[in-house]
């Protein structure tokens, strides 16, 4: 227990890296994911196919494999991302964007068909239908799953520990070696994650409930 207090600043450093990894990857993943979701409902079939393939392939690929590609395989193609933090951001964003795209697409698809039909029948244009009727409803049912995607992202940043980033888990590994495998080291790491994930989980649950009641 003292061990956690004594190494508080080390934990904080790790926590800061995890938080920054999560934040940068989240922004990038949301951007890419939204584009992919838009492509998936686009009227152009070829784009739909490409976006669908992107989402399906990434969702069925382990994140470790994405890291493996960036760190060990990409250099064979002459692609040299700056090792460590930004490579990790790229991998996490790429991987998470597929789940963002899926959450957004399900959100849009989840709005009752009758809503769009009714909106069209009162003469709204395509843009108006989306803006006034479909998207406001879709966003509400998309936010809780998106928060869950972000929670998963927070936890997934730990994979970067295997690839040259010293975030929370990497910090835990170091402290564990330095303290002869003291189990308290990892308890400290666990607490750091729970500080992020549990409040986010509660937020998602309460939002889900509110959306459900609004229906």
């Amino acid at each position: 227990m003292d061990l956690i207090v004594d190494n508080a600043s080390t934990y904080l450093d790790g926590f800061a890296v995890t938080a920054r990894l999560t934040a940068y990857s989240a922004v990038a993943a949301l951007a890419v994911g939204l584009v992919m979701a838009a492509l998936r409902i686009a009227p152009l079939r070829s784009l739909r196919v490409v976006a669908a393939a992107y989402v399906e392939v990434l969702r069925n690929t382990p994140l470790t494999l994405v890291f493996f590609f960036m760190v060990l395989v990409a250099p064979q193609f002459g692609i040299l991302p700056p090792l460590g933090f930004w490579t990790a951001v790229a991998c996490l964003a790429l991987y998470t964007s597929a789940f963002v795209a899926e959450a957004v697409r399900s959100g849009i698809n989840g709005v009752g068909v009758g809503q769009a039909e009714a909106a069209r029948s009162i003469g709204l244009t395509f843009g108006q239908v989306l803006r006034e009727v479909v998207l406001p409803q879709a966003v509400r049912s998309t936010v809780p799953p998106l928060i869950n995607v972000l929670i998963a992202l927070t936890k997934n940043t730990s994979v970067a520990a295997g690839f040259a980033v010293v975030e929370l888990v990497g910090t835990g590994r170091r402290l564990s070696t330095a303290n002869a495998g003291d189990p308290w080291v990892l308890v400290g790491v666990a607490v750091c994650y729970l500080v992020i994930t549990i409040p986010m989980g509660l937020l998602a649950t309460s939002l889900e409930r509110r959306v459900a009641f609004a229906r």
């Binding site: 009227p43 152009l44 079939r45 070829s46 784009l47 399906e56 969702r59 069925n60 690929t61 382990p62 470790t64 494999l65 493996f68 590609f69 060990l72 395989v73 064979q76 193609f77 002459g78 597929a98 789940f99 698809n109 989840g110 068909v113 769009a116 069209r120 395509f126 239908v129 049912s141 799953p145 869950n148 995607v149 929670i151 998963a152 936890k155 997934n156 940043t157 994979v159 520990a161 295997g162 929370l168 888990v169 835990g172 590994r173 564990s176 495998g181 003291d182 189990p183 990892l186 790491v189 666990a190 994650y193 729970l194 994930t197 549990i198 989980g201 889900e208 409930r209 959306v211 459900a212």
Partner: protein, 296 residues
């Protein structure tokens, strides 16, 4: 959904869309071609980057290379998943049932276990296994997969139970079944069947997570790829990566397809409840209010 957003296209629009689609396809293919040509320029497609798959150097045989990847590597991946999945399911079921206890304070431990373990990275739990609990890499991988997935399975089953129409439980108790009997004979069978697609989809996640064993020295598929790459030299990483990624995709896409098929079958039967499996990988609708946190 998309079909009702705009008018059914007329002949002109249809032609325009077809042209746009073709143009889009051409652009995508051109980009792919440029990428491939660039890669070829780096020598990636030269025979000496691929012979590891049919005629490897260092006096090794191709059969051994494939065996090391598909038998030992994939075998280790599947073994970890095969040991972890049933354990996680059983423990998840126990937790889900525990949470149905009527006494609030009795429920607390089960709720706490679920909330804590699904909020922690699987990799961290694997390290807890190997570093803190002194397990070997296989034990650590299985431990990490079990504690995380039991929490998720518990959530899925709880969601399934909660989504059942109230009348089911009421009818069961009306005919004199005890609480345990009604769970055992009426509620659980329906909940499990309804959530089957989600459970299978979670198996894909579990299988994917077994690749974290790479980081804790468990000799699974990805590790086998890396060992081969190290043994034969870095220039083979592309070829070996293609094999590894292909294997993962083949296994996971089949499992996903299985989940989708299940979802369609059970969806038809459980019509009254709609698609409670909104959290499934394959879901085409948003998760309903009881949906579990889907973990990418």
């Amino acid at each position: 959904m998309t079909s009702v957003l705009y008018d059914a296209p007329g002949p002109v629009t249809r032609r325009r869309e077809r042209i746009g689609s073709v143009v889009g396809a051409v652009v995508v293919l051109a980009l792919a071609f440029l990428a491939l040509r660039y890669a070829a320029g780096r020598g990636v497609f030269q025979a000496d980057h691929w012979d590891v798959l049919h005629n490897p150097p260092k006096g090794q045989s191709a059969a051994d290379v494939w065996r090391s990847i598909l038998v030992r590597g994939l075998g280790a991946t599947l073994r970890a998943a095969a040991v972890a999945a049933p354990l996680a399911l059983v423990l998840g079921l126990v937790l889900a049932l525990w949470r149905t206890t009527r006494l609030r304070w009795l429920r607390v431990p089960a709720v706490a276990v679920v909330e804590v373990f699904r909020g922690l990275p699987v990799l961290l739990m694997m390290l807890v296994g190997t570093l803190a609990l002194g397990m070997d890499p296989f034990g650590g991988v299985v431990f990490g997969l079990v504690v995380y997935n039991m929490a998720i399975f518990a959530e899925i089953l709880r969601a399934g139970l909660a989504a059942l129409p109230k009348g089911q439980a009421e009818a069961a108790s009306a005919i004199g079944l005890s609480r345990w009997q009604s769970l055992r004979h009426v509620l659980l069978p329906q909940a499990v069947r309804m959530m089957l697609p989600s459970l299978v989809a979670q198996l894909v996640v579990l299988l994917k997570d077994s690749s974290l064993g790479f980081i804790v020295s468990y000799p699974e598929l990805l590790k086998a790829i890396q060992n081969n790459g190290q043994y034969f030299g870095n220039r083979y990483f592309v070829a070996l990566f293609v094999v590894g990624a292909g294997t993962y995709l083949a296994v996971n896409l089949s499992l996903s397809a299985f989940a989708r098929w299940l979802s369609r079958r059970t969806g038809a039967r459980a019509g009254a409840v709609g698609d409670p499996a909104g959290l499934a990988l394959v879901a085409s609708r948003p998760s309903r209010r009881r949906a579990t946190r889907a973990r990418p």
